[in-house]
């Protein structure tokens, strides 16, 4: 009788965990996709990263109850996954980024010429961001997500908030320098 009760309890726990995981997917899949896409700049790669994130969560679903902030926790997981993938993958040609951006960027209110100019500008900015030192680049990319505060960025990167602020300040200066004088920083 005791065994039957414990089996029922386990089954209930498993079902509750599955429901919690399903709710997490509904709530955060889009956010995680955007984080992944901002680094990988490829739709299918970004979606793969999101799926891998939730597969990792599935493997450690027993710890779900111990997590205080699921959003930051999930962003941290996907962030590590995409950085790892980017390190492993060979450097993507810049033309691929532009083509992907042309496919996904909204084009409402722009004629063909303006759209081409906008794409060139975005590609130039992204190429300059790639030239930033890793620490500054990471902070800059995460700061673009308006839903992430500097405290949350610090939590994702595992650094202090003041460190995030100083890195962001340096990143902005360096990026402006790169865009104004492209050959000034190597």
């Amino acid at each position: 009788m005791e065994i039957v009760e414990s089996t029922v309890h386990e089954e209930a726990c498993r079902q509750a965990q599955e429901e919690a995981l399903s709710a997490l997917v509904d709530q955060y899949a889009t956010t995680l996709y955007r984080v992944a896409f901002s680094v990988l700049r490829n739709q299918s790669d970004a979606e793969d990263a999101v799926q891998e994130t939730f597969l990792r969560v599935l493997r450690h679903r027993e710890t779900l109850g111990e997590i205080r902030d699921h959003r930051v926790w999930l962003i941290r997981i996907v962030w590590n996954i995409v950085l790892d993938r980017k390190r492993r993958a060979k450097t993507r040609p810049e033309t691929d980024d532009v083509a992907e951006l042309a496919r996904v960027l909204p084009a409402t209110g722009l004629n063909a010429e303006e759209r081409a100019a906008a794409l060139q500008h975005h590609a130039h900015v992204l190429a300059s961001v790639e030239k930033l030192p890793a620490r500054e680049r990471e902070v800059m990319m995460l700061s673009a997500f308006e839903e992430l505060s500097s405290v949350e960025i610090a939590s994702v990167l595992g650094v202090t908030e003041s460190s995030v602020r100083s890195r962001l300040f340096r990143a902005r200066n360096l990026l402006a320098e790169l865009l104004q004088h492209p050959r000034s920083i190597r």
């Binding site: 997917v25 899949a29 955007r34 984080v35 700049r41 799926q51 599935l58 960027l105 673009a144 402006a176």
Partner: protein, 171 residues
């Protein structure tokens, strides 16, 4: 002053423009149906690590190992096997008795205990110490004859004879 202010202003403007691009990318909508695809993948994935199962166990948890009596019997069998194996090893092992006395090998090379170890070449060494013994009158006359001969030998040897104690210390 105004040039540096202008420069600073331009820098801020350029940085803000660049951040607009990053923000644009950060706000791109996710592809439709991503949640459904993720959920589908999660359901297809094995929820638990693959474990090799006992052939007679059932997945619903009502297998034969669930009975407390059988579990106790299995535990007892394991204990018996381990204890039996341990006893088998113990019973086959003969612990050697500690010897009550040690037989020392016979001393070779005289009283000093040193031998030449069958060496083909032996270096010339000094004359060994002379142990004074109680001599008979006949021996005394012999030693009186030997004494002048010792004086005739090299000074080094004579010193050795005089100075080396009867029981030399081992260094």
């Amino acid at each position: 002053m105004s040039a540096s202010f202008q420069n600073e202003f331009d820098r801020d403007r350029v940085a803000a423009e660049a951040e607009k691009t990053l923000r644009l990318i950060a706000t791109l909508p996710a592809p439709k149906g991503i949640e459904t695809r993720v959920k589908g993948r999660l359901q297809a994935a094995p929820s638990r690590p693959y474990v090799i199962e006992w052939p007679f166990s059932s997945r619903d948890g009502s297998g034969w190992m669930r009975g407390s009596g059988i579990r106790a019997a299995a535990a007892a069998a394991i204990v018996l096997i381990v204890a039996g194996g341990g006893w088998g090893v113990y019973s086959r092992t003969h612990v050697a008795q500690a010897p009550t006395a040690l037989v020392a090998p016979a001393a070779q090379g005289g009283a000093s205990g040193f031998t030449g170890a069958n060496a083909t070449r032996k270096p010339q060494t000094v004359v060994g110490p002379v142990v004074p013994t109680q001599s008979t009158p006949a021996q005394k006359t012999n030693s009186a004859k030997i004494a002048p001969a010792l004086h005739r030998k090299s000074r080094h040897q004579s010193i050795a004879v005089k100075t080396v104690p009867a029981t030399p210390a081992v260094q």
